[in-house]
């Protein structure tokens, strides 16, 4: 956990947890490649058994958001040319877990 996340909400490759007033267990973040937002791609949420729970297209800022439940979750990112990334995080009610995910295409 970091104090005041800067820029996109989390340090590159890191995780930040802040409180939210909605009471939702939010997992959100941004995806970048070489420092630039990945605008075409998908983030999917898997539960602690590795089962698919949800998937969203990335926003124009490379962003994604999930409303989860308390527990451990995995975020898997799919981007063009086979680029992949995976991060495991925990979520809790009233907290927003913010991820900065960086992807690299194979052979790039």
């Amino acid at each position: 956990m970091t104090g005041q996340p800067e820029g996109c909400g989390a340090p590159a490759g890191g995780v930040a947890v802040t409180e939210n007033s909605s009471g939702e267990a939010i997992i959100e973040g941004t995806v970048s490649a070489g420092g630039a937002p990945v605008q075409v791609g998908y983030a999917r949420l898997l539960n602690d058994g590795g089962e698919f729970v949800a998937e969203v297209p990335l926003g124009s800022d490379g962003g994604f958001r999930f409303f989860a439940a308390p527990g451990t979750w995995t975020v898997r990112v799919l981007a063009p040319r086979g680029a992949r990334a995976e991060e495991t995080v925990s979520a809790d009610r009233g907290h927003t877990t913010t991820l900065a995910v960086s992807v690299t295409a194979p052979g790039s």
Partner: protein, 280 residues
């Protein structure tokens, strides 16, 4: 029925999207996706605005469907290729709908918008205007649509397939995790339902798994009795349309219905049985 009767791949679309008599249709929940870029020549259907009745909880009636397709320039004889986001959930829902109203030539683009994007294929923003048609729909074919009383009567009698995620099935979540969780109805699932999440039928890129894998998934692993009729449901009927497509169109099972009222209806009914926790 073979796969090529109900599915096309992206190469086929690249080769045939300009053919007369072929109409590409993007169907989304979030139609800003189409506005930001779509496959050239595709027209748009808005799952909520175009396909749902604006007042009652139901989908548009026969006349509404005729008006919609006439307005989009789709003829009875056209081959309609549906695709969309969310791994083709809403495209599969629209497919079910086209079948319900008797449209003969309709197929899904395997993998939908996601595979197209992950392949880095071209998307355009130009909107095509097709000349208006006079579309005639058939009466709705309710042999593929289940209603609530039939679902309740099917507990312990037919295959009930709950295609939501394991956490929605068990009652941990009330909605898919990309949506807020504020729904008021009860959580859980219909007793005797088997949980076969729709996602198990698809590869990571959104394409459907092979027929052999699908038969194993629903037969050996989930224990569905293929000799019995089946009702599929989810939260609002779009993911279960995806599973209906797999069972009815890809695997050729007869007697498969989509319960589009799904959990948002069932989980709000007074007095019906609900089961919590993992399935058996």
């Amino acid at each position: 029925m073979s796969r090529s009767d109900v599915l096309v791949d992206a190469d086929w679309v690249e080769a045939h999207r300009g053919d007369p008599g072929v109409v590409l249709v993007e169907v989304d929940e979030d139609t800003t996706a189409y506005d930001k870029g779509h496959i050239a020549n595709a027209v748009k259907l808005d799952w909520k605005k175009d396909l749902q009745d604006p007042v009652r909880r139901d989908f548009v009636d026969k006349h509404g469907f005729e008006e919609l397709l006439s307005d989009r320039g789709i003829s009875n004889d056209d081959l309609v290729i549906l695709y969309g986001g969310n791994n083709n959930w809403f495209a599969a829902y629209a497919y079910w709908y086209f079948r319900l109203y008797g449209h003969a030539g309709v197929k899904l683009l395997d993998g939908g918008r996601k595979k197209w994007e992950l392949d880095s294929r071209d998307l355009v923003t130009e909107v095509v205007q097709r000349p208006r048609t006079s579309y005639h729909a058939a009466d709705p074919d309710t042999s593929i649509r289940a209603f609530r009383d039939e679902v309740i009567a099917s507990i312990g009698q037919r295959n009930l397939v709950d295609v939501r995620s394991p956490d929605e099935f068990s009652g941990k979540l009330l909605a898919p995790a990309h949506l807020p969780q504020e729904q008021a109805q009860r959580a859980g699932h219909i007793p005797t339902a088997r949980n076969v999440p729709w996602s198990k039928a698809a590869n990571d890129d959104g394409t459907f798994k092979s027929d052999d894998d699908l038969r194993k998934l629903y037969g050996d692993q989930a224990g569905l009795d293929f000799g019995k009729d089946t009702i599929a449901y989810c939260r609002i009927g779009e993911r279960s349309a995806h599973t209906w497509f797999v069972l009815h169109e890809l695997l050729g099972q007869r007697g498969v219905k989509n319960y589009d009222g799904s959990w948002t209806e069932y989980g709000s009914l007074v007095g019906v049985p609900i089961e919590l926790g993992e399935g058996r």
